[in-house]
């Protein structure tokens, strides 16, 4: 696990270097230009989060990919919609619990550009919030349960097509940086908090598409490739 994290970290470190170089050059060119009024709609951004795919490459049981569309209003407020698809098919090796699901998810929210007064910069730091939702069905099974006290009694554990539904919020901090003309890339770190998670009598969703494992870390990250459609 540690090796995988180090590999991901090195990959991100290498990928950030060209944008830092570009940023330094652009700042040099633009820092002395006169201040202009930002247009109401500055641009529309179309992005793809490939962080979830990277997790699959590094051996994770789950895959997640999403696309986003962001409106840049006065280079300050950025309402965003993210639509994606997540899936998992996993078996826990220690207790043979098997779980699989696949479903789309949606995240709606807005970001705030902390560097809105410095439009000459080719990148910026932002913070934001998302309200997220996914409705899905899942299959869950485990070995037969044997009565630990009386013995001689077993009960099967297998449930197919269980209906699940989850709503959660995400608090986002990230950066976006220009890499070439209208192409940008960005990273975001996210803190997730579940608002509602539909349980049944026999289980609760162990993996939520767009969220990840429901009982694991509440922190996540995205790695976005972005194309800026100028107005």
């Amino acid at each position: 696990m540690k090796k995988k994290l180090i590999l991901i970290f090195i990959f991100l470190l290498i990928s950030i270097l060209p944008s830092i170089k570009l940023m330094a050059q652009d700042v040099k060119k633009l820092v002395d230009t006169p201040k202009e009024e930002e247009p109401l709609f500055k641009s529309i951004e179309i992005g793809v989060d490939v962080g979830g795919l990277a997790q699959k490459v590094f051996g994770s049981d789950y895959t997640s990919v999403s696309a986003s569309i962001t409106a840049n209003i006065k280079n300050r407020y950025m309402p965003v919609i993210e639509i994606g698809y997540g899936k998992i098919n996993t078996i826990n090796e220690s207790n043979s619990v098997a779980y699989d699901t696949k479903a789309p998810f949606i995240k709606v929210g807005a970001d705030y550009n902390f560097f809105y007064k410095k439009p000459y910069l080719p990148g910026f730091l932002y913070g934001g919030i998302r309200i997220c939702h996914s409705s899905f069905s899942y299959n869950i099974s485990a070995p037969e349960m044997g009565d630990p006290v009386w013995g001689n009694i077993t009960i099967p554990y297998s449930y197919k097509g269980v209906s699940g539904s989850s709503t959660w919020s995400e608090f986002v901090v990230g950066v976006k940086a220009k890499i070439f003309k209208n192409f940008h890339m960005g990273w975001s770190a996210r803190y997730r908090a579940i608002i509602s998670n539909k349980k049944t009598e026999n289980s609760e969703p162990l993996y939520i598409p767009g969220y990840g494992m429901s009982n694991s870390s509440k922190f996540g990250f995205t790695y976005n490739l972005i194309y800026n459609l100028p107005f």
Binding site: K2, L5, V149, G151, I153, S203, E204, L206, N215, F219
Partner: protein
């Protein structure tokens, strides 16, 4: 930003495994005086036994030497479920729909408690595996020494909370 990403990875790497310490659910009984609902203390010779009825596979050897297999209903006895309870006791339930407990006060005095319950297999986390919870549908009992039984909480799970109050005469 690099520090931020490092933090995210570190936090993701520290997935906590919050599995419960016990996966066996117990029915918790508290002993109370029927007159004033104060705590009732049992004598030190009390023993609880239990049984349930389950399908048991029996192999019969016929006269011609062939072996046949059949399934019969049989009682599965648990000789001592709890020894010398004083003011309360926690008893396991079976994976069948009825569990019977016998409270042996002495060689000649005993009460029988029959708990009818629904079994609820449950998985809380993929790391923790299966657990069995129960919902009490009905409780029947004899009143040789005890007065009555009150169901306080019909949901029996791995939490430490009282499910039944057993009331005894003060004397």
């Amino acid at each position: 930003m690099i520090l931020l990403l490092s933090l995210v990875f570190m936090l993701n790497g520290c997935n906590s495994n919050n599995c419960p310490l016990t996966t066996v659910s117990f029915a918790h009984f508290e002993f109370l005086n029927s007159t004033d609902s104060k705590q009732h203390t049992m004598g030190d010779s009390v023993v609880i036994t239990g049984f349930t009825v389950a399908d048991v596979t029996v192999n019969d050897t016929l006269k011609d030497g062939t072996v046949t297999t059949r399934i019969v209903k049989d009682s599965l006895l648990n000789e001592i479920l709890y020894n010398k309870p004083t003011t309360s006791m926690s008893l396991p339930l079976s994976y069948k729909s009825t569990t019977t407990y016998v409270i042996h006060y002495s060689k000649k005095m005993r009460d029988t408690i029959v708990v009818e319950h629904k079994n609820i297999p449950y998985i809380e986390s993929i790391d923790c595996g299966t657990m069995m919870f129960y919902k009490v549908n009905n409780i029947r009992y004899t009143t040789n020494a005890l007065d009555s039984i009150e169901t306080v909480n019909p949901d029996i799970n791995n939490e430490e909370k009282i499910n039944f109050n057993i009331y005894f005469p003060t004397n």
